[in-house]
């Protein structure tokens, strides 16, 4: 190639460029000059090249693209000129430093840190070029075309062989052995002519081209091959063999090279372009994430996954066991509860009330939501006449709780609870509290005649005659027992003041019924009717109460016997001819009650009174003294003792009324005077007489 005078170049480039002189040796296809661009005050490199006559129209376009490139690892291309003799001139930034090849020749093979650092920079430059529209493929990346700047960075130079990627690839323009990708050798074999006539070096190229016929066209991945090859060179200090001759694996070299990095280089240098990274960006991402591709890191990740799996499985199994336990617990609790109820039922049949109570309490403690144990225990306490305790137990039960029972079973149990509660209130004569409980029981169990019957009775007792009438109507539609309707009509008549009519109905009820509850209530209310009718009905009253107390059990007839004793006393007071009989009968009744244990105050007081009437003063005094000791705050024992002593002293020759006065004073100190007591008035009068 003839030497171009610097002055001729000056003439072409203009006065902006000074100090033009050749740079390096003649490069064959190109020639380099160095100059100083005055306007930018920078040293530039001018590359003179013969234009490809096959691509004359592309030159200007490529020039425009090149001059627009701006990247820290690419040289700045200032201008692009052509002369009329078929040469083009690329004016680019002068990159100080040495080429990569020179660097490696001087320093030797690089360590993987340095090689990785520069490989990433090459990929960044390639990614930038590939991101242009259209993408720019360098296609001649090799150590000679990579400058190492004084700052320690690379600069990718010499874009003579660069191509614009159109559609799915371009035909290769040139190829540098060792660094060219296989597809760069994919040229029509016809270009070689008759292979038999080729010289050996061309023959070699021909064979390589023949092998590359199926390798496809040049794409972005072509540059990746070259970058991989350059990295190979940096790590080993040797040029990689041509792909067609088999590249020596990196493992064969005694170098410190991590597996992830080695695998990345090998992937870049894959013969099939489809097996390389899909883009420079992907390759760059891989190099940035080498640590995470390291076998040690992957082993660690596997450990984490295993631990997570074991812990997760353990937690799930434990949670499952816990849930299963909860579900099973509910079933076990239910089964245990049912067993306790059944056992309690058996003990009830064996008349073991204490044992039955214990089991029912256990059942309640086991499950406070279920109503069955409450119902059974309430009934047991009612049977034992422990009404207050039954009320305290059943009052805490929520009528709406079902305890897991179905609606029908829960209604029956709740109905029973409310009925027992109402019956307890009734026995305690708290009819106002009993009424809503009866109503609730009748609501839960509309078909229970006993509930409707007792509701009607309670309504009558409370004075709600309309409600009593409604309950009676409802009762008439049910399957009632003999005496039920008569009891209700008798109660209604009593509430209306029709005592004779009530007496008749109630006597009928007591006679017809087999239910002890009906017999008891009817007879008590009938006796009440007799008292309302006056002393002329005492014999009727005695008959009613004696009959009832015979038909009822010992545990049920205490009230009847007490009223019987009072009736005999009234008879004794009303009929002098029968006084002795009256007192004696009253005494018998009261002694019967006293012998049953825990007699009431009224029973003991009446007993003392009857003994006094029968002139058995000592016995009477004993009863009253015991009563006074048991009820020290009650004035009545002292009052009765005062009257007794007055009566007793009246029988004696030597009278001493000091005890009368003493008892009077004691009674007076305890007497509040809110209810006028005729006996207290009588005692006061006696003491006044004694004092007078």
């Amino acid at each position: 190639m003839p030497t171009v005078a610097a002055s001729a170049l000056e003439e072409l480039l203009g006065a902006d460029f000074t100090d033009i002189r050749p740079l390096g040796e003649d490069g064959g296809l190109s020639r380099l000059f160095r100059a100083h661009k005055q306007s930018l005050d920078v040293d530039v490199v001018i590359k003179r090249m013969r234009m490809d006559p096959r691509r004359p129209a592309d030159v200007q376009r490529e020039a425009r693209v090149m001059t627009s490139l701006r990247h820290q690892f690419l040289p700045r291309i200032f201008d692009f000129k052509t002369d009329g003799e078929g040469y083009c001139y690329t004016i680019m930034e002068l990159i100080p430093g040495c080429t990569l090849r020179q660097y490696v020749q001087r320093q030797g093979a690089l360590d993987q840190k340095q090689a990785l650092h520069w490989a990433k920079q090459l990929l960044e430059a390639a990614a930038y070029m590939h991101s242009q529209r259209p993408a720019i493929i360098h296609s001649d990346i090799k150590p000679e075309n990579i400058m190492i700047t004084p700052q320690g960075d690379i600069c990718l130079i010499d874009f003579n062989a660069s191509l614009e990627l159109r559609d799915d690839g371009v035909e290769a323009v040139g190829a540098t052995m060792c660094y060219a990708a296989p597809e760069q050798y994919n040229v029509p074999l016809s270009k070689f002519g008759d292979p038999a006539l080729l010289p050996p070096e061309r023959r070699q190229i021909y064979e390589i081209a023949a092998a590359a016929q199926s390798m496809g066209k040049v794409t972005e991945r072509t540059d990746l091959y070259a970058i991989g090859a350059v990295t190979y060179f940096m790590m080993t200090g040797y040029d990689p063999a041509c792909w067609a001759q088999g590249v020596v694996p990196l493992e064969r070299y005694s170098i410190t090279l991590g597996d992830p990095f080695r695998q990345a280089i090998e992937r870049c240098m894959a013969v099939e372009s489809g097996q390389r990274f899909s883009s420079a960006k992907e390759a760059l991402r891989a190099l940035n994430g080498l640590a995470k591709m390291d076998k040690r890191y992957r082993d660690w990740r596997r450990q984490c996954q295993t631990a997570a799996l074991v812990v997760g499985a353990g937690l799930i199994l434990s949670a499952f066991a816990l849930l299963w336990g909860f579900l099973l617990r509910g079933q076990e609790t239910g089964a245990a509860y049912n067993a306790l109820i059944q056992q309690a039922q058996q003990l009830r049949e064996q008349q073991d009330q204490a044992g039955e109570q214990e089991l029912l309490l256990q059942a309640i403690a086991l499950d406070r939501e279920r109503p069955e144990a409450y119902a059974n225990l309430g009934a047991l306490l009612y049977q034992q006449r422990d009404y207050q305790q039954a009320v305290e137990l059943l009052d805490q039960v929520d009528p709406d709780q079902t305890g897991g029972l179905d609606q029908a079973e829960a209604a029956v149990a709740q109905g029973q609870i409310q009925y027992v509660l109402a019956s307890c209130y009734y026995q305690l004569q708290d009819y106002t509290a009993a009424l809503p409980c009866y109503q609730t029981a009748a609501l839960f169990c509309a078909g229970e005649a006993a509930y409707q019957r007792d509701l009607a009775v309670c309504c009558a007792r409370c004075g709600y005659m309309d409600l009593a009438g409604q309950a009676l109507t409802a009762l008439s539609g049910l399957d009632t027992l003999p005496g039920d309707t008569e009891l209700v009509t008798g109660e209604i008549a009593y509430a209306a003041g029709a005592y004779e009519q009530a007496l008749d109905q109630l006597r009928q009820a007591a006679r017809l019924s087999e239910s002890h509850t009906v017999i008891s209530r009817a007879s008590l209310q009938a006796a009440q009717c007799c008292r309302q009718l006056g002393d002329g009905w005492i014999r009727e009253e005695l008959d009613i109460l004696e009959t009832a107390s015979r038909r009822l059990d010992t545990a049920e007839n205490a009230s009847h016997i007490q009223l019987l004793a009072e009736a005999w006393l009234r008879l004794a007071a009303a009929d002098p001819s029968r006084r002795a009989e009256g007192y004696q009968q009253a005494l018998t009744a009261l002694e019967d009650l006293n012998s049953r244990g825990q007699p009431t105050f009224a029973v003991r007081q009446n007993l003392a009174l009857v003994l006094e009437y029968l002139d058995r003063f000592q016995e009477s005094e004993d009863v009253l003294l015991a009563l006074r000791a048991d009820f020290p705050q009650d004035y009545r024992p002292a009052m009765r003792l005062g009257l007794l002593y007055a009566d007793w002293e009246g029988e004696k020759a030597q009278k001493d009324y000091s005890k009368v006065v003493e008892m009077y004073q004691e009674a007076q100190s305890l007497y509040t005077g809110t209810d006028l007591d005729s006996d207290m008035v009588r005692l006061e009068e006696l003491v006044r007489q004694i004092a007078g």
Partner: protein
């Protein structure tokens, strides 16, 4: 001891044990991973 009690105790105990194990192993592995990543990255940078 009933079956449900055994299941509940073992389930609850298992939850506790595995939760603790998870916390401890997470803590240990996380530290190890950080140190490992740092060491590997130092080889490349």
């Amino acid at each position: 001891m009933s079956t449900s009690t055994i299941l509940m105790l073992s389930g609850g105990g298992g939850l506790l044990v595995f939760a603790l194990a998870g916390i401890i192993s997470w803590s240990v592995l996380r530290k190890k991973g950080k140190a490992l990543l740092h060491a590997i990255e130092r080889e490349y940078q």
